[in-house]
Homo-oligomer: 224 residues x 2
Amino acid sequence: MFGEHRHKEETGIERLPKRQRQQRLVELIDENPFVTDRELTRRLKVSIQTIRLDRMELGIPELRERMKLMAERSYDQVRSLAAEEVIGDIIDLQLDRSGISIFEIREEHVFSRTQIARGHHIFAQANSLAVAVINDEIALTASADLRFVRPIHLGEKCIAKAYVRSSPGKAGRAKVEVLSYVGEEMVFQGNFIIYRSDDKKPADYGLAPPERQEQAANEEDTRT
Amino acid sequence: MFGEHRHKEETGIERLPKRQRQQRLVELIDENPFVTDRELTRRLKVSIQTIRLDRMELGIPELRERMKLMAERSYDQVRSLAAEEVIGDIIDLQLDRSGISIFEIREEHVFSRTQIARGHHIFAQANSLAVAVINDEIALTASADLRFVRPIHLGEKCIAKAYVRSSPGKAGRAKVEVLSYVGEEMVFQGNFIIYRSDDKKPADYGLAPPERQEQAANEEDTRT
DNA sequence: CGACTTTTAGAACCTGGTACTAACCGCTAG
DNA sequence: CTAGCGGTTAGTACCAGGTTCTAAAAGTCG
């Protein structure tokens, strides 16, 4: 029972027990999703039927299906890029009062050298939330004041909490404070001034002097 | 000769002349890249051979090849998403002095309702440039002060100009001012404080108190 | 009419599989 | 010893969605 494993061990990369082989299979496939069963037989030194049985058991679709899924995913990603209205998942929202969003730092958000999140992603989460929390037709960031308290690393979950500081529905501007945490630790702080439409026109937005506003309005016309 | 076109016209969507059919084919395929030849025969009312000859002539690969290409594209997009080190195209860069980048506002950058660019994209361009202009191993945004002077609209080209304000290579922090323009008009202004590695350690970064730093350092260890 | 382009048809073949049947190997329990 | 079982392998039929090639029919023009 003990002592002797199965098969010979000396030759090194010989056939693995089922469990390990299947794990290796998963690794190989998501390392290179474009691998065919035939190639896998060479890698794992088992028959093509075994490969296929393994895929069945593991619920891994065939190559073509995998490619189709990837293609579809990337296709409606492009289609719905505009649908990504918000960076981070908003998990709580009390309009004109407060909001919470959660954002996981993934590969694409970090500097590859240091694995530290780029500032603009952290800002994007906070900014999205600050805009979302404002209960208005149009809400635009007018200005902001940011402190990146400590670097945020790959894999960390960043939880942003926004609080509307100014009396709601009043002026054309709202103050929103956003604090972002990883666990207990505050990692980012931002004070936003958000322009809100209210009843006023968007032309009231911004800090530009009057003649600029007209220019802007003109440009808007020529562009639409 | 004249008057009579080819075939009967009365029935409406009848077979088109070759040229137009091929154009329609292109439209149909890039409207829905997942369409099979068989489906196309139904759409265009020609035989499957004609469809295939058309694809040949137009250099359009078969369905499976199309899906594969899409999958591959999306795959190495994911792989090289880290390569998108910078938002906007940097067209001029004098390290530790100044830099210019250009960024065109596209569909995916605007609020669909208003066609106005989301603040964080404008920030991302400025932030990327501010970081890029710093001639250091590691450069991280420590804090920033932003003014969104006027809304930026779909299709506008935003040109960001960064100027390093602090004496270069000196302290652990650099001041960078970024001004963004559409044409002559200033649309955004940001003052960044960028943490730079210099000879110091990244642990020196941030405004967190000492015990926080250890925590951060620990986390870094557990994560690598 | 004959020459030419365009369209259609059909058969053979390809890849990368699925689905199913059958056999074999090594081990163990009765 | 033998039957049973998990795991593996082999082989065949079949499929989608094509390619490649040959050949013929249909429409077009001078």
